[in-house]
Amino acid sequence: MLLSEYKSKELLSQYGVGVPSGRIARSPEEAEASCGAIETRKFVVKAQIAAGGRGLAGGIRFAATPSSVGEEARRLLGSKLVTEQTGPAGETVGAVYVEAALDLKAQYFVALALDPETGFPMLLASAQGGVEFEQRARMDSDVVRTLLLPDDDQDTRKALADFLAGIGIDDDAALDPIFYLRSAFLDNEMTLLEVNPFAVTRDGKWMAIDAKIALDANAAFRHPEFESLAADSGLSQTESEAQKSNINFVRLNGNIGVVVNGAGLGLATNDMVVDAGGRPANFMDIRTTATSFDIARGIDILLAEPEVTAILLNVHGGGMTVCDTVAEGVAFAYSRAKRKPPVVARLAGQNAPWGHQILKDRQVPVEAFGTMREAVARVVELAQGGKR
């Protein structure tokens, strides 16, 4: 569950973290009017989307006057931003955040996550904060250093001061904000808290200039407030529809619908499709709790996509997801579908013969194969307009 920038900052400021003053706006007029409430000489207008990389995609604009704030807002609102993290369809900008543009002396990257080894909160920090941080970090993993923050005590403070000095922050005023971040991270069961840049102004104040928060959806049962905090689940509408049916679904660019149980087998199947020259239309992972009705809804989503010209069904029946359940779901979706692209089925494991029988009996346009490799080769051929 991702929080939009302004919700992230609201939450952090409740913990004492400094943030620039700002207002959310959903229309150009609102954006222009909001400037009156912000005391500053220069403004910045920021597209609110639930994905990173927006700075490089033109989603952050500077403006000197309220009227140019209005103009920039007009340009951003309703436009689509395509960043590294949004997927090819991009995300439509529904709101902008108008903020005081501050004069910054130095910018850093800081983030908090749980250390998978020890379970303690872990600080990740880099001297190279700013919009290009992710690219730099990808090229050189040494750009980021880490420090465990097990407690909020004198020893940890001492260790933090030494650590920060190591990345060029020789200022005790930076310690408190980091412990405020730590409290916010723990209280709200975040899976990730990223402040980039974490910056110091000309007058020596440490501030979160941008912030990205991911809450743990698995902890929502004890945090009723999560629902109102989260801008969005980080999923597209189709993707969250699929989630409700116990299916993890990610839309990709291609034309081969891929239906698989299990995330690992899903990834491995997509790899083989691409290697064979095919283009998957999606990634799908049918979770073990999915019923045949859930699966039918997942297939509906694929059948509704006009780009999908063939479907690959690759199922390894296990303890709970058995092949006949999946076959039932496919058959049900096909029985009510207007468009029936050919299906290539490779079923193995629990109840595989029964699954094949169901597909045949219910007149799904199916070709059955015994191995993944054969099935993948055939579906690629069909998708490219090969003979039925």
């Binding site: 990173g52 990389g53 590294e84 993290q85 997927g87 983030a111 996550a113 749980l114 998978p116 080894e117 020890t118 379970g119 303690f120 990740l124 992710e134 970090a137 993993s141 980021v144 723990l186 069961e189 899976t191 990730l192 990223e194 743990d216 698995n218 902890a219 049962f221 004890r222 993890n248 990610v250 698989v260 149980n261 299990g262 995330a263 690992g264 087998l265 899903g266 990834l267 491995a268 199947t269 997509n270 790899d271 083989m272 691409v274 290697d275 998957p280 990634f283 992972d285 979770r287 073990t288 390894h316 296990g318 303890g319 709970m320 193995a348 494991g349 629990q350 191995t371 993944m372 490799r373």
Partner: protein, 290 residues
């Protein structure tokens, strides 16, 4: 021989009386594993599937000599169940529960610190020593006793590769699912160390994927020892788009900066024979054993 569990393992089930607990207990007992107790607060003194039920793990251990636990408790209480099992001193704890909150797992990791317990999971298919002991949710139809050790991050892909191995007469010593969550118990390194010391394991298969650092850590470990057995690897997700989450949770941008190609390169440098794709694992194992 095998790693972690064998015919001497005595299993208790936390959450034994629920729907999933009942189903998996029944399947494991039919497979011939030794299940000695169920735990369900408030239901102590009763029997379920012919197995005695206790109020607490501690009581179940005292009465039955259980050495391992299967945790099939719903996510909100799964961490407390794991910690109860750790405190009762169980050797092997397998948690198959999905969607355990991450900060709860952080608590479990701290409880594990300094103990002898080995945690497998959560969000894992479990552990299987074919013909001896099953603790988990995996199918057993295609499993076969033998000399290949398997450690994996994903259930259905493991079933696929295991079936291919058995069809090629490559039986398995033990199969461990380390689980798909960012914070989990035993990792690839823990499995590799144990397979190294198991005289009946001739080769090890690591089934990895994008995200997380398991493959990197395995590569670091293998570079630091003389392993003495072939290790075969697979990294799923070479063509997955970067920065997007694909089913499993282990793909945060701060940790998942390494691509599948980088993982493959590191494993190769450490002497791992990396299979081209899922269907190429068996031939790679056969080549390694020649």
């Amino acid at each position: 021989m095998a790693i972690l569990v064998d015919q001497r393992t005595r299993v208790l089930v936390q959450g034994a009386t629920g729907r999933a607990g009942t189903f998996y207990t029944d399947q494991a007992v039919r497979y011939g594993s030794t299940y000695v107790a169920g735990v369900r607060p408030g239901r102590g003194g009763t029997k379920h599937l012919g197995i005695p039920v206790f109020h607490s793990v501690k009581e179940a251990v005292e009465e039955t000599g259980a050495t391992a636990s299967l945790v099939v408790v719903p996510a909100p209480n799964a961490a407390d169940a794991m910690i109860e099992a750790i405190e009762a001193g169980l050797e092997t704890i397998v948690c198959v529960t999905e969607r355990v909150p991450m900060h709860d797992m952080a608590r479990v990791k701290r409880a594990l610190e300094g103990t002898q317990s080995v945690l497998i999971g959560p969000n894992s298919q479990g552990i299987l020593t074919p013909g001896q002991c099953k603790i988990g949710v995996m199918p057993t139809k295609d499993a076969k006793p033998g000399r290949i050790g398997i450690a994996s991050r994903s259930a259905s892909l493991t079933s696929e590769i295991l079936a291919n191995c058995s069809a090629a007469d490559l039986g398995q010593s033990t199969t461990v699912g380390i689980g798909g969550d960012t914070i989990h118990g035993i990792g690839f390194v823990g499995c590799l160390e144990r397979f190294k010391d198991d005289p009946e394991t001739e080769a090890v298969v690591l089934i990895g994927e994008i995200g997380g650092r398991e493959e990197e850590k395995a590569a670091e470990y293998l570079s630091s020892v003389t392993y003495g057995k072939p290790v075969i690897g697979l990294v799923a997700g070479r063509h997955a788009p970067q920065g997007r989450r694909m089913g499993h949770a282990g793909t945060l941008s701060v940790f998942g900066l390494e691509t599948a190609e980088q993982k493959v390169a590191k494993l190769r440098e450490a002497g791992v024979l990396v299979a081209k794709d899922a269907s190429d694992v068996v031939s790679t194992v056969l080549k390694a054993l020649k």
